[in-house]
Each structure stands twice: as structure tokens, then as C-alpha cells.
Amino acid sequence: MRFTNTPSSSITLVAMVLLVLMTSVQPGWCQDKVFPIKGVAGVGKILERTRDKVVIEKGGANQNFDTNQISRVLFDGEPQALSRAKDSVGQGLLDQAMEEFAKIDAPSIKSEDIKQDYLFFRGYIAALNALRGKGDAAAASKQLLTWAKDNSTSHLFYMASEALGELAMAAGTPDQAPRYFGILASSPFIELKVKGNYLSGKALLASKKAAEAKAKFDLVAQAQVSDTASLKFKKLASLASIQCDAVDGKAQQAVAALEKMVDEGDSTDAELYSELFNALGGILRAAGNNDEAILAYLKTDLLYASEPEAHAEALYQLSQLWPLIGENQRATETKSRLSKLYPTSPWLKK
């Protein structure tokens, strides 16, 4: 880096030093912060933290935040690197989060709340890294589990549960996942219930427990919700419910039902249609109908590449299917596209 000694840069530098000094000699009032997903942050002293709510007090008035509506919580006096890491996690910038987290001088943390937070994010970031296929899933799982055992009333407990469920899925032990996703489903928040039931259903389906999975998806389908995320789960649950039928040996009916959804739906809904065609591909492949399975996955590939997760899955499945019809070159090309487009996708590690 090149420094120039211009007057203006000197002024900026002085101003920065002053700012830092001023911040470090703030008066003694507490500056915990709760950032909701929508709305104004609450600043003051956190009085209570449970799985379901965080209560913050400022000027004698208490403000309640439901945990499912919180974007992040910052404690007064927590290392800046920890705050930045939390912010990066929230934005999905995992590499940046890891970089910041590594800067934290853990032994210097004295506050129990911050220590708890630190340990959670250590495990959570490790989990996210493992889920993108880069880190050690078992170690991350162990860290989070240890944390969760000691902090079952934390406002971060649902996040930990969800991550543990995802880790179990990624580790190929979907039978372990419903116990974690079930915690979400047992929350008092309808959005989390929907998500928890949907994810439990997916895990049960992956464990070949089609009837139990279907029951979960039915719960999702019956839920009265209006938020975008839950509506998405409702949509996907109806699709997954059909997949349950296929696992139950009703592949033909499942294909017919999915095709009906294709015919009757709005094909510009890329999220649904990419899942629909992937589901179709999966059922057709399981039934040994490789030709049609390829066409189904090609629809996701060629028409709905805007959906990264579904697209990565379709590319992976195509790379497996092409050789079965003697198209090894296409398999290689598809695999290469998968690695180029989605270098951190878990599908690459399969």
C-alpha cells in the first residue's frame, strides 16, 4: 500500500484516530444490539434471552423480539471481528466470515454471553463450511452439539438445530436429521413449524420412511401461512408428497401426478419447476427409465439454470446418467460445467 502525505489524508487519519478514541471512551451505558429482519434495531441492555425471544431494555422500557424475526444480536463489548463475522454470515459471505472469525482472540473474551456466542459461531461457521463441501462435517457437528447441549435456551438454539439437521443430511445419515428439524417444528412460530416439518419430511423421505414423511408434508400443506418462505415450503411439500408415493412403489402414479403439476402450473415459476423436473428425473431414474430421466434433468439444466441448487443437482444427475446411454463425452462436459458453475456445491463431492 502506498501512503501519501497530503493534508487531506492527514486530516482523515486524525479524524479516524479520534473516532476510535471516542468510541473506546464511551460512557458506561450498555450497548447490546438486536437487529430484527425488518424494522429498527433495539439498542440497550439485553435482559432475557430464550429460544423464542430476546428482551432488551432501554430507558426503562422493554422491547421484545421473537427469535425468528431476529437477524443478529450483538453484545456490548464483543470483539469487532465477531460482529463482522456475524454480519458476513447473515449476508452469506462465508469466506469473509471465516476470515473475520479467525481474527478473534478467544482467550481475551471475558463475558459469558459473548463466549457462548463465540462458541456458537465457531460451530455454525464450521457447519456452513462443511455443508458447502469444504470443511470437516463431523467436527462441526460435534462442536455444535456440544454447544447445543449447554445452551438449549439460547436465542440461537433453532439455528443450531437446523444446522445439525443439515449436517446429518449431508453426512448421509438422514435418519438422524428429524430429531433436529423436529425442534424447529416444535417452536411456537408457524414459519419455523412449516420449515421444520418440511425438512423433517425430506429427511424421512431420504430415510425411505415414506409414510412418515408424507404425514409431515401434509402438515406443511395444511398450514395457514402467507409469508413467501412458508408458501415456498408449501409448494415444495406438495411435490415431495408425490415423491413419497413413488418411494411407496407408486412410481407410475407419482409420475402422472408430477406431470399434472407441470401441465397445470405456471412454468415461469423456476423454483418450483426446477424441483418438479428434478423430482421427475429422480423417480424415472429409480424406475430404470434413463431416457426420460435425462430429459427431465435436461429441462432443469436448459430451462431453469437460474436455480443454482436444483441446477447443480440436475448437472450431477446428468453426469451420472449420460454414461448409461453411452454418452461419456457429455458426462465429462456436464461434470466440468458442474465444477465450473458450482465449485462449492455438495453435489461435486458425491
Binding site: 401441465d263 435425462i294 453426469s319 461434470k335 465449485p343
Partner: protein
Amino acid sequence: MPSTIAEPVIPSHNSRRLVGILAVILLSSSAANADEPAKRFLKRLREEGYYDQGLKYLEISAAKNRLPANMKADLPLERVILMQESLRTVKTPQQRDERMLAIEKGFKEFLSSAPTHSRRSETQTKLGDLLLDRAQSALDESKKPENVISSESWRSKSRQAYTEAMDLYTKISEELKPILESMAGDKIKTIKVDGKDLKELTELREQYQREYRQSQILQAKTMEFIAQTYDAQTPERRTWLEKAEASFIAVVDKTIGSQEAGRRMLSLLYLAEIQGQLGKIDEARNSYTRVSENEGEGIFRTWRVQAVTGIIRLDSSEKTAKYEAAIQRGEDAFKTATARERDDPEWLDLQLATAEARLAWAKTLDERKDENKFKNNRRAARETLQTILKKKGPHLVKTKQYLSELGIETVEKMDVKLPDTKAWADTIKIARERLDRAESAESTLPILQQQLASENANTNAPIQAQIQSIQNDAARDRKQSIELYQRALGLHKNSDSRDDLLDAKFLLAYLHLKTEQYWEAVALSQELLSSGKGTDKAQKSGGFALMGLGKIISEVPSDRQLAFVAPMERLANQLILIDPASEEAQNAIDLLVKLDLIHKHYDEAEKHIALGQGNSSGGGASMLGQILWGEYQHAAYEHRKNKTDEAPEDLSKKQRSEKMLRSTWDAMQADKADKNMVTGVNALANIYLMSDRVDEALMTIDAPTKGAIALATTVKDLDPSVQLEAYRLKLQAMVQAAGSGKQPLSTESVTQVVQKMKELSGADDSALTDALNHLAVKLLMKLESSESTEEQANLGAAFGVLIQQLVDVSSDIVILDSVGSSVLNLARKMLEKPSLAANAKPLMVIAESVLSKVAAKPAAELIEAKRKPDELQLKLALAKSGAGKFEEAHALFVQTLTANQKNLTLQVEAARNLQMWANGKDIELIKKAVFGAEPDAKKINILWGWGKINGVTAARVSDFKEIFFEARLSISSGLRAIALGEPNAEKKKQGLERALSKIRETVQTYPELGSPEIRTSFEKLLRELQQDLGKPVVGLQEFKS
């Protein structure tokens, strides 16, 4: 995947290009409605070149009645269009012809069944394309030297197809004309077509208008094609050209307004070309000029360049002889080309035309009188030709021809002094000139070397001198270029162009690399890689750095190579950051991995492979996969030997090995495979076979271009052992597939594979035997690892069938002996394993039958096939014994041992044979087995029996441990059997005590009793004896006190 972008346009006589040209200016009328997934999907499949999948999609969707109504009507047409588009993927001319006939039939059927369909004229046009294609093929055939006799017939065929196409285009115009009249102006508001609203009708009218004009252009152009089917200067040719000219003039006159500009320009360009052929120079120049004056971008700019090129050619013709004007026009035009455009076909053609103008001018000059002009023109033409010679394209044929005609360059006085420049711009300009001069001069070397090869020793001296001189000059120019660039870097100021600075550094790095100054090249390239992040130059610089580092590493002593891992790692990471899939990134990783492997840092190698983010495509990954597989096999062997379970780390090695070999194979391009990669593919197939994944193994072995078999035949300089291994794997896969009931063994396939193996073995037929033995060993391992007796029996039976099929069809001694020996080996090894022994006999029967067939051959044939009769007899005796033909085996043992009694192996086998023959019941045979048999003239037993075998081996127990203990055990066992057959109770007891005492002696001398297996046998026998004698049955405990 094929691209759908139309290639740049050059006016051409070739009708194959016509469709592409028109596609650029005439929007397709079949544009799909983007709102419908079915149409969109079909469109996307086409765009990506998945024609086969498109056809499959239509077929499946139609069968399931899942096509939208508006697609159902078009289904036959869509199918035929897909077939036509897939023509480019057809491999053989025969398939192409068949496909074309089917397409033609399909189009005609559609046209006759849908006379009012809105895509009728589109279909007619496509049918026309097909006819043009056929006509062009026939015309090409007519020009081939081998078709000189049938040339006229081919031309006639061509003419017929062109005429058919022309009639079709005429018909399109005729059909569309009244329709367009009925839709003209406000009339469109009153007409009704298939319930279309006004907007749709307007779109339909526009479509028809485009198709109408397109048909007129095609009609005119086809006339020109017809003209080409006649010889030059014939009246017919001229007549058709004149018709084409008139038609194009009519089109040009009618295409008015900006919307028609494209069609007008293209028609003018074609018109000019035809006028040129008719010798109407002024008219042609006028038409070209109208095109050259257009100011449009994109395709219009391309046409402008083509028009200028046309004018240059007109001006440099003998008739016009405006050479200087032509050259000036060419040079002026070329100055306007951007760096990227210079390699485009139209610009290369423009340079070619300029060079042609120079050569044409030089031809008209007097070499002495106009010496300078003559030489300058030839030199300039040569330089241009040498520059464009390095680019790919249709200009190459003429370029080579002109260079060849120019011959050897006369050595000219060159500016060889290093100029004393002071400014940045001047310095980089001259540096670049020196570099270009060096490169350009060297590009002539291949031509000179070719000439040198065709000269005789007496006349090649001048060429050799010229080559040497060019090489010296090029070396000097490069040296000067380096000095100039280095000087320039010191002269660069902030106000100078940064792009030029980047370019200068880039070329300097290249020069360092070229002049083998690797350290300098690496340093500069790495700087460029960091500073020019993401640019094409940065990536190429990475390639330079990689080459430089690779060279340095290869030249330093082995113990210093590891010092380069860190810089290489940094370089790989930088390249991956730019583009993980780039060749440079992959090569960097590969080099790094190979370095690790040389130094046996396998974990590091794996870490480095992972840098490629799933693209473990290099030879390094394959090599590591093979190493891990080798280590796993070694560990597995040890576990089998020690009867221990495989450890997780062993299994991990296998999994890692498979992962690496598979990902390498997936990413591998067959044309880039080398020996190492082929060995890796073989190893992968091996892994699949050993893991019972027969389908995957067969896929790996049989894949069309990069399967093990395909590679064994296509990759150059492969060792026969690698090739043989591929075929051995094929046999193994066939056996395993048959063993698991997946597919029956085909006699034909088995024979073909073994015959191919024999060919590969060449004179050294032991290679075939080794390969088949290897197969037997592998199958044995499979048998051992199998837990199901049924599976073992099936696998053994399948192997037997393979051998039997070979025996049935082959009388070749080498093949028969090889397979007989391998099946015998397999069976004998199976006998050693109690769990497999039961399945050995059928194989022994087969081995006996095969070896008997060999033994029945005349001695002379055996000798000619380099087979030793005594070895053969031993194998046959063993096989007979194993097959239960003990008496015949015995006779063979006697016969062989008579010649050489001291063969211990044979003596042991003969004793075993007697023992098996006795089956525990025939006392006489047991006596022979124990005490020996078949006395010779001196009353010495030819067959020693276990007694003498024991005596012989007792002196060297450490050398013959297994035989010694087997003999002791067999003696005790034989004595017991003899005693049990004794009717006298006292004698029986004595006999049994004798047998027991033999065991006691053995235990006292050798308490460990050989191996655990034989100790168990001793224990068992001892317990039987203790029971026979009424003693406490305590086994070896008896001797503890």
C-alpha cells in the same frame, strides 16, 4: 457442443454456406413461442446440439400424448428438421446419405399433407437446403481426380439437384405472392387465418415477406450454382450466369428501404461476384463499391471488407492492371482492422488479395529494370503470406501455393544494427518489429526443410545455408528485441499507455521463455499474472510461468526440486483463481502433483489435486490413483495372507484411488491420453471388477473412445503389457458378468479377445500365458473374497465356460497351453482353500481336456511352438489327478519320473495322486503312497512315496518345510489307514501306536508342527488315533508332559 452462431460470411461458390449467410439476415420464421415449456425446451435442445435428445423428446412426448396442441400439428416437421440439424453429427458418408433420403422424404410428406400450413415455405426452404447440399456433394465428387471418367455424370447429378432446388424456390415465390397480395395494406384487417388476431396476422405477413425475398435470393444464387456445373467458357455457363445476374439485379431493385438493407447488400455482393465472372469489370466494381460504401456495423462491416477485397481482385486482374491502386486499397483497408479482427476470415482474405496484387504486379515488371519494385513487391507479398500462413482458414491453400511458387527468399540486406532509441513508443515499436521478423522468418523453416528433404545431397547446400542464416538472424532479432523491451521498460512514463506496458512485459516474458532464460521468464510472467488479474494476458503469462518453472525444475538436481513446490503452489492458486477449468490451471496442478509423487509426498499430492476443485483430470491424479491402488492391493494381500480384516485406512486408500482414477477418466479426452492415463483406466476397471461393480467395469472397458479397449488400440507407443491388461480385464469382466448372471459368455467375443491378446503377445507368447495366469489369479482373489458358495461356483463355472469355449474353437498350441495352464493354476490354488476346493474339480476337468488336446499334438508342432514335452506332461498329470483320472495321472508320473527321479515336486505330486486315488480305502495304494512304488530294474522305487520324501527333506527342513510336514502327516495318516485295515487286533494296535509315535517324534522335534493349518491336521489325526487306541482324546496335550 455445436454452436448455433452463423459463421462469418465470405461470398462463395459453395452452396453449403448459403443457408448460414441467409440465416444472418433473415430471421427464422419458426421462432418458438417462448412461453411454452415444450417449445422452449425443444429450442434449447437444438441450441445446445442435443438433436438426438430432441428426437427422443418428441417421440416420448407424442407417445404419452403430452405435446401441446400447436406442437402436435408440427410434430412430423419438427422431427424432420431435427434430423436435418443432426446431419453434422453423422459420422459416415453412408449414414449421411441414408439420413438425407429420410429427411427429404419427411419434408415431402409434410408438404403434401399440409398444403396450407403456415410453416410451408419454411419447409420448402429447408428442403431446398437439402437439395443444395446434395448438389454440392455431387459437384465436389466431379472434381476429384479419381472421378475423372465419371465427372460428367456427377455434374449432371449436381445440376439436377440444383435445378430441383431452384424450382422449389420458384414455387415458394409463386405460392407466397398471391398470399402477400391478399394481406397487403389494410386488406389484412379483413382476412381471417386460424383465428389469429391482427398482431399475429401482421407478424405472419412479415414472416411471409421475409420468406418471399429469401426464396428470390436463393433462386438467383442457385442459378449461379447451376452455371458452375458447366465448364468455363461454355455458352451454358454464361447463359446461367446471365440469368443469375438478371435475377439479382431484380432483387436489388426491389429491396428498398432500411429494413431491406441487409438483403440488398448481400444481393449486391453476389451480383458483383457474378459480374466479375462474366468479365463485366465496371459493373462488378460498381456493385462492389455500393457495398463498400455502406456504413453499417456487424455483418455489414464484414460485407464491406469482402467488397473491398473484390475490388482489389478486379483491379489486380490482367485486364484491369491497376496494381498500385489495388495494393493501396488493401493496405488502407487493413489499417482499419482491429487486432481481434485481423484473424477473421474476411480480413485474412483481404491480406491474401493484397499479396496476390503484389505478385501479379511483380510478374509484369522487368526484374533488372525495375529491380527495387520487383523485389519489394515479392518481399512484401512473402511477408504477408508468411504472416497469414500461421492462421487457420480457407486462405491457407492459396497461401501455401504462392509461397511455394515464390521459392527460396533471396537474402536481402537487413537492418541488423541495434537502434539507439530514446522514446518509449519508438522502442517498443522496433522491439515488436524485431520479434515479428524473427517469428516470421522462422515460419518459413518448415517449407525450407520440406524442400531440403526433397533435394539430393549435391543440391541441398544453398537451402541448408539459407536455413542456418534464418536461424542466426532470428536469434539475433530476438536478442535485440529483448534488449529493446528492457530499455523500453525504463523509458515508460505514467502518461504512456498501460495496455502497451502490459503488452511489452508480456512479449518480453515470451522472449525470455523462447530464448531459454527461464528464471527471467518466470519472474516477469508472475508479475503479469498478479498485475493483470483476470485478463487473457494474465492467464497466458501463467502458462509462461508454468513452462518456465517446469523447465527449471526438470533441470535442477532431485534434492532441490521440492524447493519449487511453494512457488508452484502459489502459481497454481493464481491460475485457479482466474479460471479453474483453464488448461494452464490444470497443467499447474498436474505438474505440482507429479512433483509430489516423484518425492512420494502422497498426502501433499492429494491436497494439490483438490486444488482443481473436482477437475482431477491430469496425469498426476491418475498416477496417484494408481499408487494408492497399488498400496491398497499390497495391504489387501497382506491381510489375506495373515487372515486379518482390512483396516479403514486401507479401504480409504481404495476409495481415494477410485475417486481419482474415475474423475481423471471422466475428464479425460481420448486424443490426449498417454500411457500413464491408459494404465489408470485399466486400474479403474480393475477396481470395479474387484468390487463386483461389473456394469461400471464394462463401461470403463468398452466405452467407445476412451474405454480401456479403445485406448489400447488408439494411444500410440503403448507397451504390449498395458494393451494386454486391457484385454485381460475385458475377459475378466465377461467372466464376472456371466458369473453374476448379467450376460452370457459369447464364444465369438471370447475368441476375438484372446486372438487379439495373442497378436499383442507377438513372438513372446509367455506374455499371453502371463496375462491369462494373471486373469486366473484375479479370479481366484474374487473367489476368495466371495462369501457365497453359490457365487463362487458361478464364477468358477463362468471361467470354465470361457476356457471351454476357447478350447472348442481353437487348435492353436500357444492359446491352448496358455489357457490350460492358467485354469490348472486356478484350480490348484482353489484346492488349497478349503472353502473353494469343492469348486475346483470342474476346472480340473476342463484343464485336463485342454492340456490333453495340446499333448495330442505331434512332437514337432510342440517343439515349433516352443513347448517342452516334459513340462506339458507334468501339467497334464496334475490336471488328470485333479480331474479324478488317477490311474492315467499315475502312468504319466511314472513315465516322467523314470527319466528324472530326483524331481521332488513330481515325487510329491505322484504321492499325493496315489493318496487321492486310494481315497483312504485302498490299502495297497496307501502303502504305495507311503512306502513308494514302481521299482526299476535295480529294484529301486521310481516313485519315492512319503517315506523317502520325508527322508530327503528332513535334512533341509527349513527349505522344504511344507513338504516335510505334509510327508510326516501323510505317513502317520497312511500308517493309521493301513493299521485300521489290519484284521489282527494286536497288529492293528501296533500299527496305530506306530502312527501315533510318528506324530510324537514330529512334535518332540518340531513342536510348532509347521504352519497352523498343518498343526490342526496333526491334532485331528492324533485325536482319531487316541480314539482308535481307546486313550483319552486330548490331542497334542498328550505330549505336553
